[in-house]
């Protein structure tokens, strides 16, 4: 029997997902032995033309990481979708928008100005900002268009499965690869990691408070949290309340609260809203005299509760405006 054909591709991402595959260590040798990698720009020398030349549906599984914000990304993922039987959104950015998705708090013009004109460490005396087309001696140079906002992979192409995480942890990847190789797969659309909430698996759960007695929401550098103490007990926001388990308590074991990269649990659409719901119950009673100050001390709620999932939020302008005709992207 011929080996399954596999492709990897990256879009708006940091490269961490590619490293996560290498973090399989020796495990990667098993993967390489079991599959035929036909396309992986970061590791092997293949060209778009090689993919274009393949018959449609001839790649068995294509792993795509990163969100979508540029013309070339859209072009590549549409091509890979056509050539692949199954597409897997790999990592938080492809799954929910991830860290690049936070740029949807603003728009293209502001993002480019910040990056090319305002950052203090810049050296750009002529104020050059990337253009789609630039006239130079001897002709025109072109760059792919940069969109007004970041889209999740499944806003651009159909996605069969999701591998959550920033980046997905080796166990999550191995389990998914095993499932794919043996054909033992759940229904399409499933997120390939247990659907339970992080607190259920957290070794700090015994000290999780029923009510937060704190007068102020703290950031992690402002307090000392014991290695076995729930972060909430010290007033530090922990997204574990509304995050899918499966990472093996990666952050908690480094004494950092969960930031939510595995996304919402099964059945929840909006991770940030689910977090606020659970968090509000801990903050009660509602007539506590200092409630206003406590709420005010929660800095950047949107950026905290949607750190990895803003483009998937119901309150995100892409969703709010879907009936009202915001020009997209």
């Amino acid at each position: 029997m011929s080996k399954p054909k596999v492709a990897f591709y990256w879009c708006a991402s940091c490269g961490g997902c590619e490293e996560a595959i290498l973090d399989l260590n020796e495990g990667i040798l098993d993967v390489v032995a079991a599959v035929d990698i036909v396309f992986w720009p970061v590791a092997i020398d293949t060209k778009y033309a090689d993919i274009e030349a393949m018959p449609d549906g001839s790649i068995d599984v294509c792993f795509i990481n990163g969100a979508i914000r540029m013309d070339d990304q859209e072009h590549a993922v549409k091509l890979l979708r056509r050539k692949s039987k199954a597409v897997i959104a790999f990592g938080s950015c492809a799954h929910l928008g991830g860290i690049p998705g936070l740029s949807n708090l603003t728009d293209r013009v502001a993002t480019l100005s910040r990056a090319y004109l305002e950052v203090p460490s810049l050296d750009n005396p002529n104020g050059v900002v990337p253009q789609k087309v630039t006239e130079v001696d001897g002709g025109e140079l072109t760059l792919p268009g940069f969109w007004n906002r970041v889209l999740r992979l499944d806003e651009v192409i159909a996605v069969d499965y999701y591998l959550p995480g920033c980046p997905p942890q080796p166990d999550t990847i191995s389990a998914a690869v095993q499932a794919i190789l043996t054909g033992d797969l759940p229904p399409a659309g499933t997120v390939l990691s247990p659907g339970r909430n992080m607190c259920h698996e957290c070794s700090r759960q015994a000290s999780k408070p029923e009510k937060l007695k704190i007068a102020e929401i703290k950031r992690i550098h402002q307090v000392l949290v014991d290695p076995d103490e729930c972060f909430l007990a010290k007033g530090v926001v922990c997204l574990g309340l509304a995050t899918r388990s499966g990472c093996g308590e990666k952050c908690m074991s480094a004494n950092m609260p969960c930031r939510g990269c595995y996304g919402p649990t099964d059945g929840i659409v909006d991770q940030g809203a689910a977090f606020l719901s659970a968090f509000a119950a801990l903050l009660g009673p509602g007539d506590r005299p200092d409630l206003g100050e406590v709420v005010a001390s929660f800095d950047d709620i949107a950026g905290t509760v949607y750190r990895f999932s803003l483009p998937a939020s119901l309150a995100h302008r892409g969703n709010l405006m879907k009936n009202k005709g915001e020009p997209t992207p």
Partner: protein
């Protein structure tokens, strides 16, 4: 041009505010037709997801009505509702949505007059705010229409 007709979604707790709405009806008070009622068992059952879903399905404002503190039939449901409301107002502002589009009021079973007055006030202030075409989205759209920089 057809004048803007605001859409307001109201989540009403069954025990106090829905009964308050009934009492407004019994008194034959006029209740603004732009206000669509969803009956919930308790204001504490109104998940932030439901509020955001209402906005994403086209509501220009969302209102949560519950029992006064001390009257909630599930004891603390309205306390959770109030804290969620405070947190969400702050977050909506950060997302470029006017926080005044989310409202919370305590209305008891006998406060039919208050119910009609509050609904009217919410509908009118939503009319003033205009459609949920957030200031920020408008700004983005105009800049995008302005072309490449």
């Amino acid at each position: 041009m057809i004048p803007f007709q605001p859409k307001v979604v109201g989540f009403l707790c069954n025990w106090c505010s829905y009964a308050g709405a009934d009492s407004a009806g019994a008194r034959k008070l006029e209740v603004a037709p732009e206000f669509s009622v969803i009956r919930m068992m308790c204001s504490g059952r109104v998940e932030p997801q439901m509020v955001l879903k209402a906005f994403s399905e086209g509501a220009d404002s969302v209102a949560i009505f519950g029992c006064h503190f001390g009257d909630c039939h599930y004891q603390e449901g309205n306390h959770s509702a109030f804290i969620r409301y405070q947190l969400m107002r702050k977050m909506l502002g950060e997302l470029g949505i006017e926080p005044e589009r989310l409202r919370l009021e305590w209305i008891s079973a006998t406060e039919g007059v208050k119910f009609a007055a509050v609904v009217k006030e919410i509908v009118e202030s939503t009319r003033q705010l205009g459609p949920l075409q957030t200031a920020r989205v408008q700004e983005f759209s105009e800049r995008a229409a302005g072309g490449e920089r």
